[in-house]
C-alpha cells in the first residue's frame, strides 16, 4: 500500500485533502436534490395525471390497476396528495434558495461571490476551464475553491429556481380567495412579488407553461451537473464527486498531464 502511494506520489505529486463543503452545505445540497426530484415527479402528475384512480372497468389499463384503484373517492385523493407534496417540496426549495442566497454572500467558509470577484479575472478563468473541457489541456488550478465556471452555472441554476418559485407562487396565490389565515400581508406579498409574471408570460396559462418549461431546464442542469462532476473525478483524479458526500476532495500539486509530459 505504501508502495502504491509512493508510486502515485511520484507520478501525480503529493495528495492533499481539501475541505470544500461544510455539513450545512451538504445537508442543503441533498435536501435540495430530494425536493427537486420530488417536485419533478409530483409536478409531472399535476400537469398530466398519469395515474387515474377510481377507474371504471373500461378505463382500467390492467386487472391489477383496476383492483388497486377501486374504492371510494375519499380513499384515493391522489391529486390532493400530489399537490400537497409538491407544495411541501416547494417550501423546502424556497427556504433553501434563501439560505443559499445568504451563504452566497455571508458564508464563513467560501462565499460564492468570491468566485466572481475580481470579475474579469474570474471570467477569464471560467473561459480557460471551458477550453479545458474540450482540449483536456491547461487545467486552471482551482482545487482550493469553487471554480468560476461552476459558480456561474450554479448561479444561473439558482436564477432558474427563483423563476420557478415566482411562477409557482403566482399559480399558488391564484387560488386564494380573500385574505389568508395569517393575515392579508401574505397574499399581498405573493401578489406584489409575482403579479408581473402574468404580464410577461401572458396570463396564468402562460405562467403554467413557463413553469413546466423551466422544469426541463432544471432536468438538463441535473444531467450536466452529474456528468461534469463524474468527468472531473475521472479526468483529474481528485475525487470531486466525493465533495457532497464527505465534504472533502483531494488536490495534487501536479496534474497527470504535467507529470507525463
Amino acid at each position: 500500500m505504501g508502495l502504491i502511494m509512493q508510486n502515485k506520489n511520484s507520478k501525480y505529486g503529493e495528495i492533499q485533502l481539501v475541505h470544500r463543503m461544510t455539513v450545512i452545505k451538504r445537508i442543503i445540497h441533498w435536501s435540495f436534490f430530494a425536493a427537486i426530484i420530488n417536485n419533478i415527479i409530483t409536478g409531472f402528475y399535476i400537469a398530466y395525471p398519469f395515474l387515474i384512480f377510481g377507474k371504471t372497468p373500461t378505463q382500467a389499463d390492467s386487472l391489477s390497476t383496476g383492483v388497486l384503484n377501486s374504492g371510494e373517492t375519499y380513499q384515493a385523493f391522489i391529486m390532493t396528495w400530489m399537490r400537497e407534496f409538491h407544495f411541501i417540496g416547494a417550501v423546502i426549495i424556497d427556504v433553501i434558495f434563501f439560505v443559499w442566497l445568504y451563504l452566497a454572500f455571508f458564508s464563513w467558509k467560501e462565499p460564492l461571490y468570491k468566485s466572481f470577484i475580481p470579475f474579469g479575472d474570474k471570467l477569464e478563468e471560467a473561459w480557460r476551464m471551458l477550453k479545458h473541457y474540450f482540449t483536456l489541456k491547461d487545467r486552471p488550478k482551482t482545487g482550493r475553491y469553487q471554480d468560476p465556471l461552476n459558480a456561474i452555472i450554479f448561479t444561473l441554476f439558482h436564477l432558474l429556481i427563483l423563476l420557478q418559485m415566482l411562477t409557482g407562487f403566482q399559480m399558488y396565490v391564484a387560488s386564494f380567495t380573500g385574505t389568508s389565515a395569517v393575515g392579508a400581508w401574505w397574499p399581498w406579498l405573493l401578489h406584489f412579488s409575482t403579479d408581473w409574471t402574468l404580464v410577461v408570460f401572458g396570463g396564468l396559462t402562460g405562467v403554467t407553461l413557463v413553469h413546466l418549461f423551466i422544469m426541463w431546464l432544471i432536468i438538463i442542469f441535473i444531467a450536466y451537473h452529474v456528468y461534469i462532476e463524474v468527468w472531473r473525478s475521472i479526468m483529474w483524479k481528485e475525487g470531486d464527486i466525493l465533495i457532497p458526500f464527505g465534504g472533502y476532495k483531494y488536490m495534487r500539486n501536479k496534474s497527470e498531464s504535467e507529470s507525463d509530459i
Binding site: 375519499y74 391529486m79 391564484a174
Partner: protein
C-alpha cells in the same frame, strides 16, 4: 379605482368617501347606508316615473307579458341580492332598483363582434327577470332592436347624449378596431368609425360597462394576429370601465352591476382586470361541482367514456376552470340551469383576457399548449424533451471525445515513455 365621483349628475351620492364594500360589510354605519340608498331610490323614482300608479304598475305589466308571476320575480330578487353578496334587507331595494332600471336612459353600442351578448339576452325561450329587464330598459339606442334607422338613429343617440349628460348608462358590446384610425369598423348613415362613436358616447356616460369578452379585452377580434388592432373598451377611453366579460356574458352579472349602480350610483368593487368582485372573485375550479373528482384523480379521458358518464373531472379534456374567474357555477347560464361543466364540456376560459390565444387548445390540457417562442412550434414538453435530448447528445459526444482523446494521449505518452525508458529505470534504481 373605478369609484369616480358622478355626484353632479345622478341622485344624491354627493359623498365621495361613501364606503361601499358588499364583499365584507356594507359600511360601519348600516343605517346610514340604508338611508342613502333609500334617498337615492326616491329621487330616481321621482325623476323617471310620472306618478305612483305608473311606478307601481310598470314592472308587473312588463313581467305579465312574459308570464312571469310576482312570486317568480320575488324569488329572482332574492337570488340577485344574494348573488350581489348583499344582506336580505336589500331585497325590496333591489326590486325597486330593477323597476327604476327599466326607465333609465340607456345606450347600447355594438362594435366588432358577433352580437352574441345581445342574442344571449334577447333570444331566450323562457327569459328570467334579468333578461326581461334588459329587454325593457328604456333603450335609447341599440342598433339591433331600435325602430329608427339611418340619420334618425344617429340623431337619437346624439340627442340622448346631450339630454341625459352624465346620467345614461352606456353598455358597449364588441371590440373596437383602432387600426387605420378605426376605419375597419364604420357604423351608421354618416359612416362614423366605431372608435369615434365610442369615444363620444363614453365621454358623458353615467356609467360605462363593457359587456362580453370582446368589449372587455378585445376577445376574438383581437386574437392573434389581430389585423384590425382591435382593443377592449378600457383602452380607448380614459373613463373607468366596468368589465363584464365572458362569451356571452351572463345576464345576471350585467343586471346585477346595473342594479348596484342604481342603488348607490357607484361602480361596484372591481378586481385587477376591471371585473365586479361580487361576480368574478371565485375561480371556477374552486367552485366546480366536479372538484371532488379532480382531487381524487378521477378524470374523463375520452369523450363519452365511463368517466364522462359519471361526471368525472374534465381536467384531462382541457378544462380551463383552474385559470378562469367567473360565477358560472353559481349564477348559471341558459335560464340559470346549466354551465359548461354541467353540460359535460370543460371551461374555455372565456372571461379571461385573450382567451382565444391563451386558453387554446380548448380540449387538451394546458400543458399541451404550444409555447410562444418565435420559430418554435412545440409544446413545453416537446421542446423540453428536445433540449434534453440535445443536451444528452452533447454530453455523450463530449464523453466519447474525451475517451478518444485520452486514449490517443495515453498511447503517445506510452510511446514517449518507451523511448526514454532508460531514464525511468534510472529513477527506479535511485
Amino acid at each position: 379605482m373605478a369609484n369616480d365621483n358622478r355626484s353632479n349628475s345622478n341622485g344624491n351620492n354627493s359623498d365621495p368617501d361613501f364606503k361601499w364594500d358588499p364583499l365584507r360589510f356594507i359600511s360601519k354605519k348600516p343605517d346610514e347606508v340604508l338611508k342613502k340608498v333609500d334617498d337615492r331610490l326616491d329621487v330616481l323614482e321621482k325623476e323617471y316615473f310620472s306618478d305612483k300608479k305608473d311606478k307601481e304598475e310598470n314592472l308587473p305589466n312588463i313581467l305579465e307579458i312574459y308570464g312571469v308571476s310576482r312570486r317568480d320575480f320575488l324569488k329572482w330578487t332574492a337570488f340577485l341580492t344574494s348573488a350581489l353578496m348583499l344582506p336580505y334587507i336589500f331585497e325590496p331595494r333591489v326590486a325597486r332598483a330593477a323597476n327604476i332600471l327599466t326607465r333609465t336612459p340607456f345606450i347600447w353600442l355594438d362594435m366588432a363582434d358577433c352580437m352574441g351578448n345581445t342574442e344571449g339576452f334577447l333570444r331566450t325561450a323562457h327569459p328570467t327577470p334579468a333578461e326581461i329587464i334588459l329587454n325593457y330598459v328604456s333603450v335609447n339606442y341599440m342598433e339591433s332592436i331600435m325602430a329608427p334607422a339611418g340619420y334618425q338613429a344617429e340623431t337619437r343617440r346624439t340627442e340622448t347624449v346631450k339630454k341625459y349628460k352624465g346620467k345614461y348608462i352606456l353598455v358597449v358590446e364588441g371590440a373596437i378596431p383602432t387600426g387605420m384610425d378605426g376605419k375597419f369598423l364604420t357604423i351608421g348613415a354618416k359612416g362614423d368609425t366605431g372608435l369615434k362613436i365610442t369615444k363620444e358616447t363614453a365621454k358623458h356616460a353615467g356609467v360605462i360597462i363593457a359587456v362580453g369578452n370582446c368589449a372587455a379585452y378585445g376577445g376574438i377580434p383581437a386574437a392573434n394576429p389581430n389585423p384590425t388592432s382591435a382593443v377592449g373598451l378600457s383602452s380607448v377611453t380614459n373613463r373607468s370601465v366596468i368589465n363584464i366579460p365572458a362569451c356571452p356574458a351572463n345576464p345576471v352579472n350585467l343586471v346585477g352591476t346595473l342594479v348596484e349602480y342604481i342603488l348607490i350610483g357607484k361602480a361596484p368593487q372591481l378586481d385587477s382586470l376591471g371585473r365586479p368582485l361580487w361576480a368574478y372573485s371565485g375561480r371556477l375550479h374552486d367552485n366546480c361541482y366536479r372538484r371532488g373528482h379532480f382531487e381524487a384523480g378521477e378524470y374523463v379521458r375520452q369523450w363519452g367514456d365511463d368517466g364522462a358518464k359519471k361526471q368525472y373531472c374534465l381536467y384531462m379534456m382541457g378544462c380551463k376552470g383552474p385559470f378562469t374567474w367567473n360565477n358560472c357555477t353559481t349564477a348559471e347560464y341558459n335560464q340559470d340551469i346549466s354551465f359548461p361543466m354541467r353540460a359535460g364540456h370543460g371551461c374555455i376560459g372565456c372571461s379571461q383576457p385573450a382567451f382565444w390565444d391563451r386558453m387554446t387548445p380548448f380540449e387538451k390540457p394546458n400543458a399541451d399548449a404550444k409555447i410562444i417562442i418565435p420559430g418554435i412550434e412545440a409544446t413545453a414538453d416537446e421542446f423540453g424533451v428536445g433540449l434534453f435530448a440535445a443536451a444528452g447528445a452533447g454530453i455523450a459526444a463530449h464523453a466519447i471525445y474525451t475517451g478518444v482523446k485520452k486514449k490517443k494521449e495515453h498511447k503517445k505518452s506510452k510511446n514517449e515513455k518507451n523511448d526514454d525508458s532508460g531514464k525511468n529505470d534510472d529513477n527506479k534504481k535511485e
